[in-house]
Structures are given as structure tokens and as C-alpha cells.
Subunit: 220 residues, 2 copies
DNA sequence: GCCAGTCTACCGACCGCCCGGTAGGTTGGC
DNA sequence: GCCAACCTACCGGGCGGTCGGTAGACTGGC
């Protein structure tokens, strides 16, 4: 049950009592889609209301405000990243396997639905300071998690002389950029893109004058 | 076109000679800075006017409108990319040297001043359709140039099984992302970042069971 | 040496529009 | 009858952009 509605607990409830969770999920999903396409500031509350078949006032029955909507979407995306990328990766003991898990799972998420994940990185400026601090903190944790993984690879001798921070940022940039060029109806299919990007990411950081002795080398 | 900006190149000459080119350059520079920091839509004409010590009406003596301002900045960034990255790379005959030139020069530009180059990729939806088509076309040419370079490397046998398009996009993403995390006053200095990112980019695409036979290996 | 005319470089005031958000209903299913 | 689920109507404000004006520097004619 992956719905944007799960992010609702972050902003609390609206007016009174129980509201239809499906309806609310649809609102968040549509808002994410439109924010993604036009950008947060260029999107009006009316745009979102129209997309879900409501008037502006009707929409406000479900949401607290535009900025809360944005924060809820970004929190949801961050939750997605935690659950689908970070946690699975954390369960991998081997650093290289962990790195591959991070990149391939993150890339996979983006090919599936990039809206919320892209908003997460592009619309930080639209948040209130406290909310922004929250999201930026979680993003920083993610990058540090990757940097730690690269540091572990370095300690294993599989990486030579690479600054883990630069490495982590670079890999993140590579993966996030997918949302800019990947189209589900394009020439390349998602599996291929995920595999290729993962391969590039691993190649980019590994020391490359030996074969990989990991036993985790089942590609190519 | 008229506003395609003799103003931004302004170290001296103006095509028409009607207005002070220094003043105009300052306006574009400030606008780029603020667009970069707050985003195009979140920036008001008043913000820019205030930053250059003018009223809104005074500012309109120099500019045609907000969207023209954006287009001029993005055209300038694209010109910069052409002159500082693409042209120098085109003069390199060896594909690997060419790739290294592209990545390192692009990365270098971003560490020097990322405003215009970042706006170039983040604010496309703020443009009028014709302007957007213009910029997107030039950006596509850039990516194709990189893809062609990767294809040439593949023909040399230095790259195995990599899709040139995915490779090109991934490298671009890696480089562009620098503007998000690099700070001139941070722990890492520009030389280090440029060198490291270039090294990662090359590693990411090269087949990695041999040393580089290019004779172009003058790092580390 | 002076003044009329001209031009650049601005400003205060204003316009119409649309924005996020709200007050106060109305409706329909239980 | 109640309450979730909407609506119409409206508000203050900020937006991009325009208009009419003007201070002051710079000409050229006499």
C-alpha cells in the first residue's frame, strides 16, 4: 500500500474527524505530478484542485496549505527512500553489494515514479525553514550513508584514493539525473537503465586494475 | 536575436551603443545570482531591481521583461558551455582525451560560477516555448556530442557494452550535480573536485581490466 | 556665455490580474 | 438531524508590467 497518504501523519489531520484516505491520496499524488511537471511556485492551488475535480475551497477541506502539501510530498519521498533503498541496503553486509543495492534500488524507484523523488531535490526552497531543515537533514544522512559505504570499500582496498564525500555526491547526482532523461515510453527500458547506471556507478568508484573478487559479480 | 546578449559578453562593446553595458551586465549578473538562489518563479522583478539599486520601473529601462531576462541568462550559459567546453573538446582528437576535457572543463566552470549554468538546467519551464525549444536543442546537441565521444571509445574497444546515451546522461548528471554540493569555502578545493570527478567519469565508462594506454594519463 | 533642445537614466504611482487562503453556506448519505 | 464533503463569494496582497514625468548631462546655434 504505497500511497502518499502515509505522509499525512507528518502534517497532522485536517479539520475534523475522519476523511476519505483514498481521496486524500489522490490529491497528494496529483499535486506531486503537477509540482513535478511545472515546479512548485509555478503551480497554483487551483491547478491542483482542478486536477482532482474540486474547487479551491473544496481542496482546502483536505489540505492545510500549499506549503504543507509540499512538505508532505517530500516527507513521503524521503520515507520511500528510507524504506525502499536505505533499509534494504543496510541489511547488506558486503560494502560492494550495499553500494549496488543503493544505486539500483534508487534508480529503480526513479524509473517507476519520479514525481515525489524529483520534487524532493528540486523544491527545497519552497519549504518553511523548519521543514527544510528536516528534509535537508535526512538527505544529508543519506549521502553520509553512501559515503560510509565508499569508505568501507576503501578499507577493503577496493577503492583507492577516492574522496568518499565527492564519490557519494557524484553517484547521487548520476542517479537523480535519471528523472530528467528517462521516459517510460522511450527507447530504453527501465531494467536496462537501472542495470547500466548501476554498472557505471560501481565502475566509477572501484579500483580498476583487477577483476572483482566479490562473488557478487553477476552482470555482463 | 537582439537580446541574445551583447550585454552579457560586455567587457566593452554594445551593438547599438544605447545604454551603459556595464550597468546592464551587472543586472544580468545579479539576476542570475538571485534566480539561482531562490528560483526563477520565486524571484520577483522587485528583488532584482533592489539588488542593483533601482526601482522596478527603473529596471525596465534595461530589460524587456522577466522571461527575456531568463532567456538571456540561459543563452549566456549555453554560450559559455560552447566556448569553454565543447569547442576545446572538439579540438581533441583522441576520444578519451576528449571525454576528459569535457568533464573537467565543465566541472571547472561549475566550481567557478554555477549560477547561470545551474539556471540553465533548472529553469527550463520558465521559458517561452520558442526559447525553450532553442535551449533544449542546444542541450541535446551537447549530450549527443558526449554520446558520440563514448561511441568512439567503444569503437576503439575501450568501452564494452555501455549504451552511449545512458553513459552521456549519467556523466552529465554527475557533473551538473556539483553545483548542488560544492562550496568554494568548503573543505574541498576546486582542483581536487574537478580532478576527482573527472577520474570517476573516466572510470565509469572505461572497460576496467587494464591500465589506460592513452599516454594522456598525467594525473596522480 | 547662454539657452533651447535632446537624450539617458531613472522614479512614483498606478493597472489588472491572479494568488493563497477564508467565511459561511448548501447538499446528500447515514 | 447530523456531519462529511463540498460549494460560491470574497479578501488582501503581491505580481509583472506600464505610464507620464523629470533631473541632469550634453549638445549646437547665436
Amino acid at each position: 500500500m504505497t500511497s502518499l497518504d502515509s505522509a499525512l501523519h507528518a502534517t497532522g489531520r485536517t479539520a475534523t474527524g475522519e476523511t476519505d484516505p483514498d481521496r486524500r491520496a489522490g490529491i497528494y499524488r496529483n499535486a506531486a505530478r503537477i509540482f513535478h511537471r511545472k515546479g512548485y511556485h509555478a503551480t497554483s492551488i487551483n491547478d491542483i484542485a482542478a486536477a482532482v475535480g474540486l474547487t479551491k475551497a473544496g481542496l482546502y477541506y483536505y489540505i492545510k496549505g500549499k506549503q504543507d502539501l509540499l512538505f508532505a510530498i517530500m516527507s513521503f519521498a524521503m520515507d520511500q527512500l528510507d524504506a525502499q533503498v536505505i533499509e534494504p541496503a543496510r541489511r547488506e553486509q558486503d560494502p560492494q553489494a550495499r553500494l549496488e543495492t543503493i544505486v539500483s534500488r534508487h534508480a529503480r524507484l526513479i524509473t517507476q515514479d519520479s514525481s515525489a523523488l524529483t520534487i524532493l531535490v528540486n523544491e527545497l526552497e519552497g519549504l518553511l525553514p523548519d521543514d527544510r531543515a528536516d528534509i535537508i537533514g535526512r538527505q544529508r544522512d543519506y549521502v553520509e550513508f553512501i559515503a560510509d559505504t565508499l569508505a568501507a570499500l576503501r578499507d577493503e582496498g577496493k577503492v583507492l584514493g577516492l574522496d568518499p564525500t565527492i564519490g557519494a555526491f557524484s553517484l547521487v547526482g548520476m542517479v537523480l539525473w535519471i528523472s530528467r532523461w528517462y521516459r517510460a515510453d522511450g527507447r530504453l527500458d527501465a531494467d536496462e537503465v537501472v542495470a547500466e547506471v548501476t554498472r557505471m556507478a560501481v565502475s566509477a568508484v572501484l579500483t580498476h586494475n583487477e577483476g572483482s573478487p566479490t562473488g557478487k559479480e553477476n552482470r555482463e
